[in-house]
């Protein structure tokens, strides 16, 4: 039996970041093949290579035993590869029928639209996947699971033989999940190969035939699900040697800086989170993507204010309903998506360094070149920012150096609480160590630090305590020195020992 899809030593880099380092992977007809790995292990990149969105740097990609060098999204579609993303990629203002037609009909700009055929086809496909959706409803009227069904109907209609599903059950209720499992099994019985990405281990054991574990951009092995257990899978996901030395932690933290009590935000799905962080302490926040860590940070910084619960700084209850209020309370936040919002890319290094602290640098509101240049030079020196000059636009800097600019702006405000969201994502190794050392120095200077990271070794190496989040809740707080597998087990909801000291 020829495998549907074969990856041989596929590699792909983005700048200095090696997302895939020679991955082998194989998908057989009529198989559900689960793909498992931590955040950033390379799952998304692997999918994007399979759908032609990324061209691999090296290795061989075979579809139906034929080698394809230049796979494009259009070619992948013609070869019968379909991908159902976690967030359905439909046109929200068009009807279900039009969305299906856009995917299935050959584009012919001036051909007459045969509406009756379109509607008939759409109804057939929707019936096939068991969806009770009218073809004339517009997509934005549909719920998330209904949109997913439309996507699946599209894949069925395209006669896809390779269907990739990226965490399809992440936003589904129990009953909707069961229905999806039914559809997956039906597709499988027709000889379609399914690549199934999920963080839910029980789902993998219930549904998949084989599982491949990705770790740091390489395959940690492919197994039949009946030959492996949950513990081994977790170990394979995290079991990497520590290739990186972290700065030593400080002796004992000081007073309680931040105390969060039953913080809720309905809009971002954060529920009843309580914890505290002390001055000089680094609290690591672990969890899977979508666990609610960034959402929590955004609440603390006033971007999406809380509906209920309290935030106290130094024992005093504070209200933060906007970032500027948060800054006034001594809270600083370095956001996850540095390239978009952590810095103003078009502005110069110097302008970015002073932007958050105009009132401090320029009392009276008059910008003074000499003060600004002094602050910028100081930041460039202290944080070892590599730049052509303080007047160079931040867009001309590398990722790690942009991150340092983003960090430097907060030092001027002398925050009491520093929240870092994925501070080393997409940063090369050298800059990573420098950023780690800086974070430790901030803590030593008496700041309370919340470090959100999907890089488990980073969390383990940097944190004084580790908070684990999942589904918008704080699942547990582990002491420093915990093993990676313990943290992962709590995050995946597999642990019998939930948080030892939920504050």
């Amino acid at each position: 039996m020829t495998p549907l899809l074969v990856f041989q030593r596929i590699s792909k880099s983005f700048g200095a970041v090696r997302a895939l380092r020679g991955v082998d992977f194989e998908l057989r007809p009529g198989e559900v093949h689960a793909l498992l790995g931590e955040n950033g292990a390379g799952k998304s990149t692997l999918i994007k290579v399979a759908t032609g969105a990324h061209t691999p740097d090296g290795g061989t990609l075979m579809v139906d035993g034929e080698v394809h060098d230049g796979l494009t999204p259009a070619l992948a579609h013609d070869l019968g590869i379909a991908c159902i993303y976690q967030q359905p990629a439909l046109f929200p203002d068009l009807t279900v029928m039009e969305n299906l037609a856009l995917r299935l009909e050959k584009p012919a700009s001036f051909a007459r639209v045969r509406w009756t055929d379109r509607r008939k086809r759409a109804m057939e496909l929707l019936a096939k996947v068991g969806a009770e959706i009218l073809p004339d409803s517009t997509v934005n009227e549909l719920s998330m699971p209904e949109q997913q069904l439309v996507e699946i109907a599209g894949a069925v209609g395209a006669e896809a033989r390779i269907v990739i599903m990226d965490e399809p059950t992440a936003s589904l209720t129990r009953r909707e999940q069961e229905r999806l499992y039914g559809i997956v099994r039906a597709l499988k019985s027709e000889g379609i190969g399914i690549i199934y990405i999920s963080h839910r281990l029980e789902e993998i054991f219930a549904l998949a035939d084989r599982v491949t574990v990705l770790r740091d951009g390489s395959s940690a092995g492919t197994f039949d699900v009946c030959d492996i257990n949950e513990g081994e899978l977790i170990r394979l996901m995290v079991g990497r040697e520590v290739t990186h030395l972290y700065p030593p932690p400080l002796g004992s933290p000081g007073e309680v800086r931040l105390k969060v009590d039953h913080l809720c935000c309905h809009a971002s799905g954060v529920e009843a989170v309580s914890f505290e962080v002390r001055a000089g302490e680094i609290l690591g926040m672990a969890g899977l993507v979508g666990a609610g860590r960034t959402e929590l940070a955004r609440i603390l910084f006033g971007i999406t204010p809380a509906d209920a619960g309290t935030i106290s700084m130094d024992g005093r209850i504070v209200t933060v309903r906007s970032p500027s209020e948060a800054i006034d309370e001594g809270i600083a936040y370095v956001p996850e998506d540095r390239r978009r919002h952590g810095v103003v890319l078009d502005m110069s290094v110097a302008e970015n360094v002073t932007l958050a602290a105009h009132r401090r640098y320029f009392p009276g509101g008059w910008l003074r070149d000499r003060i600004e240049a002094g602050a910028a030079r100081d930041a460039v020196e202290r944080l070892a920012i590599k730049t052509a000059g303080i007047d160079a636009p931040v867009s001309s800097l590398s990722g790690g150096n942009q991150q340092k600019v983003s960090l430097s702006r907060w030092l001027a405000t002398e925050p009491k609480l520093l929240i870092l969201d994925e501070p080393t994502q997409g940063v090369d190794v050298g800059a990573k160590s420098e950023i780690h050392a800086l974070i430790r120095r901030f803590a030593e200077a008496g700041m309370a630090v919340i470090l959100i990271s999907s890089d488990l070794p980073e969390i383990l190496g940097m944190s004084d305590r580790i908070a684990v989040m999942g589904g918008g809740k704080l699942i547990g707080i582990l002491p420093s020195g915990s093993a990676a597998a313990d943290v992962m087990a709590v995050a995946l909801g597999q642990s019998g020992t939930p948080g030892k000291d939920i504050a």
């Binding site: 910084f301 971007i303 500027s324 103003v344 509101g365 052509a388 000059g389 160079a392 867009s395």
Partner: protein
């Protein structure tokens, strides 16, 4: 890199210089004091509005209601003058009326988050039609002592030019040197990043519209004092002229980049084409064609710059 920061503005200034030089060679009659002074004074109101438009466009918004606001300010202040308000009180009155109309725009755009082009289009039509209804196209005759502040024409013109020059210089300086000026740039470059840096983008956007309104009020006064009557359609079409000047002057329509003095040079460039044609004995019909060509070249230059910047940026991804 640093040496080339102003290359766009300098290119526009060089083009203006070429035209002025060409006129000096082939039509030295252009450089008679009186006509030149009149030309400059006539353009002073547009120049002031251009400064306000620079602020709004830097914050990544647009205001197409300036022409109507200009007319309303002129007519209202003319009526105030006719009812006996002293000349000196007209300027603050214009600032207040213009600022209030700008604040209305600002509330809809910054407060409710509506798109600026739609809000200001509504404002443009509403004010223009309201004025038509109210005045039926009637001119306001001003009392003595308003035109040229009761001085001789030459003296009045010199006062107007000096005041405009000082105002433009102050604005250009302030935009670079005051914290709020920097905030206009930051919000226009990336409103979300600015918010995360603790700025208040909505307040900054609101203020941009108030500034433009107030400056339009000042510009209307500068226009009112130039003639014995106020024409109710004095600002008709001003938005296009002013936006064109801003674009030609190198201010990015996508916000966050450009200099006020560049836009001022841009306005002078567009404004001197018509008299240049007259003095060079060419058909006046060519004016729009030349202005259009200059705008097209400016847009093209901006497009090429943006493209090369994008290419440059992806190198680092």
């Amino acid at each position: 890199m640093k040496d080339w920061r102003y290359r766009r503005e300098l290119a526009v200034a060089a083009l203006l210089g070429c035209i002025l030089l060409g006129l000096a060679i082939w039509a030295p009659a252009f450089y008679q004091a009186q006509p030149l002074l009149s030309l400059a004074t006539r353009e002073a109101p547009s120049l002031i509005v251009t400064c306000g438009m620079v602020i709004v466009i830097l914050t990544r918004q647009i205001d197409i209601s300036v022409g109507s606001m200009f007319s309303v300010c002129g007519v209202v202040c003319g009526l105030l003058a006719a009812s006996g308000w002293p000349v000196w009180s007209l300027l603050p009155a214009g600032v207040v009326i213009g600022g209030a109309m700008g604040a209305v725009n600002g509330v809809f755009i910054a407060g409710l988050g509506l798109p600026s082009i739609v809000v200001t289009l509504a404002m443009l039509v509403a004010l223009r039609q309201g004025l038509n209804l109210f005045r039926q196209g009637e001119f306001v005759t001003l009392p003595d002592g308003v035109q040229w502040f009761g001085m001789s024409q030459v003296h009045g013109q010199i006062v107007v030019l000096c005041a405009t020059g000082v105002l433009v210089a102050l604005l250009a300086y302030g935009l670079q040197r005051i914290s709020l000026g920097r905030h206009f740039y930051a919000v226009g470059s990336d409103a979300e990043a600015s918010r995360l840096a603790g700025l208040k983008p909505r307040r900054v956007t609101f203020l941009a519209f108030v500034f433009l309104g107030a400056l339009t009020g000042i510009a209307a006064m500068v226009n009112v004092v130039q003639s014995p009557q106020v024409q109710p359609l004095s600002g008709y079409g001003m938005e296009l002229k002013v936006i064109a000047a801003v674009v030609v002057g190198g201010v990015a329509i996508s916000g966050g980049r450009g200099y006020l003095w560049g836009a001022a040079v841009g306005l002078l460039l567009l404004a001197c084409i018509s008299p240049a044609l007259v003095y060079l004995h060419m058909e006046a019909y060519w004016e729009k064609a030349f202005q259009g060509a200059i705008i097209l070249v400016a847009v093209l230059a901006e497009g090429l710059r943006a493209r090369s910047a994008r290419r440059h940026r992806t190198d680092f991804s």
